[in-house]
């Protein structure tokens, strides 16, 4: 039985929003076209004479490319042409590297040059008249490889004798840095218990959007400009990667998106394939159509960061107060650094998780292995770290006999601490974590738990209960990249919107973002309508992104939980400016002060005088087509606004500063039932409480909460990119990589609190990534369920049934991972 209820929050703090349409579950503007099959996704776009590209990919995880012979493919009628790594190396420069030494030396191109470094690494491309032909012809490309030993386990990547992926780097180290805040020695001296955990593993998976990556790329020979109809979700990033690589100015790359079939961060790093398409469009003088196949996506795109946490030590007081922890983090970046090593700093946005401990040290190392490159994935890099903090809490509670609820409440940052500066200088803007936990417990029916446990036992099942409490930090300060590489110049953040009143009175909005289902057209229209005094139905928000609209800036895109802050902040700014211009124009017509004008019901009128009213249409017509007779220039009724959160560049020495503007919060609670004979288990009950500040459209927010929950459950139970020792991906499709379907989903109750952010224009917080709370909740629930059968310790984020079975069978093996020293 599915129950979805959002309890009304009593005593929600004052919001900064004037609520009209904002705050309503306004029906989505996007739905009509999508429900009728009229959305335009990238593979829907056709051009006359276009050729379909198919990539030839390495079957080896690590191999020298001795030669590539495309002649047999080229001889086939209907094949338009090919591209190889050697051509790419001549015609482009390696992609700019974010890393400092030694990762800075990686030479990464659109196609593999000289060496293939993972199974699926593209080494050549073939373009043909049809999809089928391109695929067949790709098989005729003869590549001579010299296979090399592969490194698959990140823990061996820095061994003396480990095969080296990028010789220029002198080893497989991508980046290394030490983060330390507070006084660790004092914390451990003060501690009554020291809990040691030797190793935890956060597994490799990603959110696998249903639509695959793709593009339709056209080249204009006369202007030297490429138009990329694509589904890249961060054009601001892609463009600065691609322009220098292609040796052109950024204006030569026009990005156009419309409907995108899910992204979840996985569509940020398609720039290598897009460059290959650009080269082919220019070389073959025809539009190039690229759509990935599912197997190609699984083999090559945007795996989530796999991370090992080692030598964890936690300082705990006798009363359960947590003083701090130290550990090593070993991150597996895969074969290339496409967005990495940013994962090496992004986690520190949530350094203490939701807890008050002030003494934390993390020795962070990122290595490269012969696996698909990692890139952002919903909850990017913070999810791994939050899983660590939640595992620490539950292992400490388990070993020292604390109640997982009490230890959380004791150590949570309290509402009166807000805004709270973390040990590393981040500022948590608002929130009431204990109250959110109470709400989650209420939704899951915690007071009945013992009864349910007995009932499960009577049916031969082990019942377990678990909590995941996480943060979704949003609106990055890109200055944090300087903690990775002090020579980088990125800092701050921005997003753009334009709003105009057109000749027939239409209100037209353009955004810089690239939504993938988050309903930007709808929420933007809600904000505009409230400011201009009209309905969201009167507002046209153009679908998607187009560089030619001039409504983008360097960080434009849809990623990292920020639209409700940056995107809507830009919409609000532009609309307020348009409203000002409309009042000025009306005041020029009526001969009064702009302050005397109000915007009501699609009219600009003298306050309180419905007789002296100009319809919006008249304002638009005057400016655009009837502007004679004004002594002063009338305002253009066209506004562009760049939203810029106020950030400082962080202190690079201390690794200290505010890295994100907002902190949405999630508390998930779940109940599992385990079959002790087989390890099979089911999530039988689930509650998710979310606080993302003021909600512009609660239904859309809840949809994001649900989606993030489903991704977390998938990652916890079924989804894993599994490699064998030779570096072959064993889960390269939806047959082997099981994503949850309708029968897999547990009953869900959702709840919401609204703690408006004091730092954002609408009181909103970025949300949508969800912090992976469900992964933690499932791990905790399993550990609870196994307590009576030897007390196994859950040490992996991914727990398929066979792993649970192993824990049941040999709990002591898992318990060896933990040691408690009490003074």
């Amino acid at each position: 039985m599915t129950t979805v209820e959002t309890p009304t929050t009593e005593a929600a703090p004052e919001t900064t929003l004037e609520r009209g349409y904002v705050g309503l579950d306004y029906p989505r503007k996007e739905d009509r076209r999508l429900l009728q099959g009229q959305g335009v996704f990238v593979d829907d776009i056709k051009r006359w004479g276009m050729g379909y590209v198919h990539f030839v990919r390495s079957p080896y995880a690590h191999a020298k490319i001795l030669s590539i012979d495309v002649s047999k493919a080229l001889a086939v009628k209907g094949v338009y042409g090919t591209l190889t790594g050697d051509e790419v190396a001549l015609q482009t420069d390696p992609f700019f590297q974010i890393a400092s030494e030694p990762g800075a030396h990686v030479r990464d191109y659109a196609l593999a040059v000289g060496k293939a470094r993972y199974v699926g690494d593209p080494v050549a491309a073939v373009v043909a008249e049809t999809r089928e032909l391109a695929r067949d012809a790709a098989e005729l490309v003869e590549v001579e490889y010299e296979p090399l030993p592969a490194i698959v386990d990140a823990r061996r990547a820095l061994d003396e004798d480990a095969p080296i992926l990028h010789e220029e780097c002198g080893g497989n180290l991508a980046w290394q840095g030490t983060y330390e805040w507070g006084d660790l020695d004092a914390a451990f001296a003060e501690a009554d218990h020291i809990v040691r955990i030797s190793e935890l593993h956060f597994d490799r998976f990603n959110s696998t959007p249903l639509e695959l990556d793709g593009a339709l790329v056209e080249y204009n020979r006369g202007t030297g400009q490429w138009t990329l109809h694509c589904n890249n979700q961060f054009p601001g990033f892609a463009i600065i990667m691609m322009g220098p690589a292609l040796r052109v100015g950024l204006d030569k790359l026009r990005f156009v998106t419309q409907d995108i079939g899910g992204g979840f961060g996985n569509k940020i790093t398609s720039h290598p394939q897009l460059v290959a398409c650009c080269l082919l469009a220019r070389k073959l003088n025809r539009p190039i159509q690229w759509t990935e196949w599912r197997t190609e996506f699984h083999q090559s795109m945007s795996h989530g960061n796999e991370r090992w946490f080692q030598d964890i030590e936690v300082a705990v007081k006798a009363d359960g107060t947590l003083l701090g922890f130290r550990c090593k983090a070993l991150d597996d970046a895969g074969a290339y650094l496409r967005y990495e090593p940013l994962g090496g700093v992004i986690w520190s946005q949530v350094t203490p998780g939701m807890y008050r401990w002030r003494n934390i040290r993390v020795d962070f190392t990122q290595v490269m292995t012969n696996k698909a490159p990692v890139s952002p994935n919903r909850g990017y890099s913070r999810m791994q770290h939050l899983w660590l903090t939640e595992r620490i809490i539950d292992i400490v509670a388990h070993e020292l006999g604390f109640d997982p609820i009490e230890i959380r409440k004791r150590n949570y940052i309290q509402p009166e601490d807000m805004p709270y500066e973390t040990p590393n200088g981040c500022v948590y803007d608002s929130g009431d974590y204990p109250r959110a936990l109470d709400l989650a417990l209420e939704l899951i029916g915690y007071d009945q738990l013992e009864e349910r446990r007995r009932d499960a036992e009577s049916r031969g099942r082990l019942l377990g209960f678990g909590i995941g409490s996480t943060l979704d930090s949003g609106t990055n300060n890109f200055g944090q990249s300087q903690l990775i590489n002090p020579d980088l110049q990125f800092s701050g953040n921005n997003e753009v919107a334009t709003v105009k009143l057109d000749i027939l009175g239409e209100i037209v909005v353009t955004l810089g973002t690239t939504p993938q289902g988050q309903g930007h057209e709808t929420t933007a229209a809600q904000v505009v309508a409230d400011i201009l005094g009209c309905s969201p139905d009167d507002v046209t928000v153009r679908a998607g992104h187009d560089t030619y609209w001039n409504s983008h800036a360097g960080f434009s895109g849809t990623y990292a939980s920020q639209f409700a802050v940056t995107g809507l902040g830009a919409v609000k700014g532009a609309t307020e400016e348009l409203a000002r211009q409309m009042r000025v124009l009306a005041s020029m017509v009526f001969g009064c002060s702009p302050d005397d004008i109000e915007l009501v019901d699609k009219h600009a009128r003298i306050k309180g005088n419905p007789e002296a009213a100009l319809p919006f249409q008249a304002l638009g017509a005057i400016v655009n087509a009837g502007n004679a007779g004004f002594p002063e220039d009338p305002p253009p009724l066209n506004a562009r606004y760049v939203f810029r959160p106020k950030f400082e560049v962080p202190d690079k020495e201390r690794k200290f500063g505010n890295l994100t503007l907002t902190y949405a919060m999630q508390i998930h609670a779940c109940v599992v039932e385990v079959d002790p004979e087989t390890g099979y288990y089911e999530v039988v009950d689930y509650a998710a409480v979310d606080d993302c500040g003021s909600r512009v459209n609660p239904k859309i927010v809840e949809g994001q909460v649900m989606g993030a929950t489903a991704h977390a459950l998938g990652a916890a139970i079924w989804e894993s990119f599994v490699y064998d020792d030779e570096g072959n991906l064993l889960t390269p499709n939806f047959y082997d990589y099981h994503v949850p379907h309708a029968l897999d989903m547990p009953p869900l109750r959702t709840g919401a609190l609204e703690s408006p952010s004091p730092f954002t224009p609408l009181g909103t917080k970025g949300m949508g990534e969800g912090g992976g709370a469900g992964i933690h909740a499932v791990c905790a629930a399993l550990q609870d369920a196994l307590r009576s059968r030897g007390g196994a310790i859950v040490s992996d984020s991914h727990n398929p049934y066979h792993r649970v079975w192993a824990m049941l069978r040999d709990p002591d093996a898992t318990r060896a991972n933990v040691e408690v020293v009490s003074k």
């Binding site: 599915t2 099959g37 996704f41 639509e211 649900m706 939806f734 309708a742």
Partner: protein, 162 residues
């Protein structure tokens, strides 16, 4: 090498329109719909027949159009998502999807609608379990399914099918 694949003339009725088309013998039905007829509402999400984004009605039954060759539908009658509401008036099921926020990116939606409408056609009052079973061949990566299940049940209550 099958560069010049054998092709065949097929006749097929799609959304009430009869098409006569020469198709390569190896062309998948989903590519025929999308690339040859520009019926791009039917989507592709996998290589293995697991995702259901390509679901259509073939002679009234929901099938995955990536699992058939175009030549196999010679003489058949097909409905795609474009055929659900040909006059632009949303069906009760489509309306329920919007009201229940059962779609985010909308990529799985056509397939979901085709599977759900086939269910409601044969079982106008399905239980929640029956809805889940009917949709188990359709992957959605955005919604977690809860709102989709609710939408199908709402549509059933409002008495609307396809």
């Amino acid at each position: 090498m099958t560069a010049v694949a054998a092709s065949r003339l097929i006749t097929v009725e799609i959304n009430g329109v009869t098409y006569e088309h020469e198709v390569p013998a190896r062309r998948l039905l989903v590519h025929f719909l999308r690339d040859d007829l520009a019926l791009t509402g039917t989507h592709i999400g996998c290589d293995t027949g697991n995702c259901g984004a390509c679901t259509i009605h073939l002679n009234g039954e929901p099938v995955k159009s990536c699992m058939l060759l175009a030549v196999q539908v010679d003489g058949a009658s097909i409905t795609t998502v474009e055929g659900l509401a040909p006059d632009g008036e949303l069906t009760p099921l489509q309306q329920a999807f919007s009201e229940a926020h059962a779609l985010q990116c909308g990529y799985c939606t056509p397939g979901m609608l085709m599977s759900a409408s086939a269910l409601l056609e044969r079982n106008p009052h399905p239980s929640e379990e029956e809805v889940r079973i009917a949709l188990q061949g359709n992957i959605c990566r955005c919604t977690g399914y809860w709102n989709i299940i609710e939408a199908v049940q709402r549509a059933a209550l409002s008495g609307g099918s396809a």
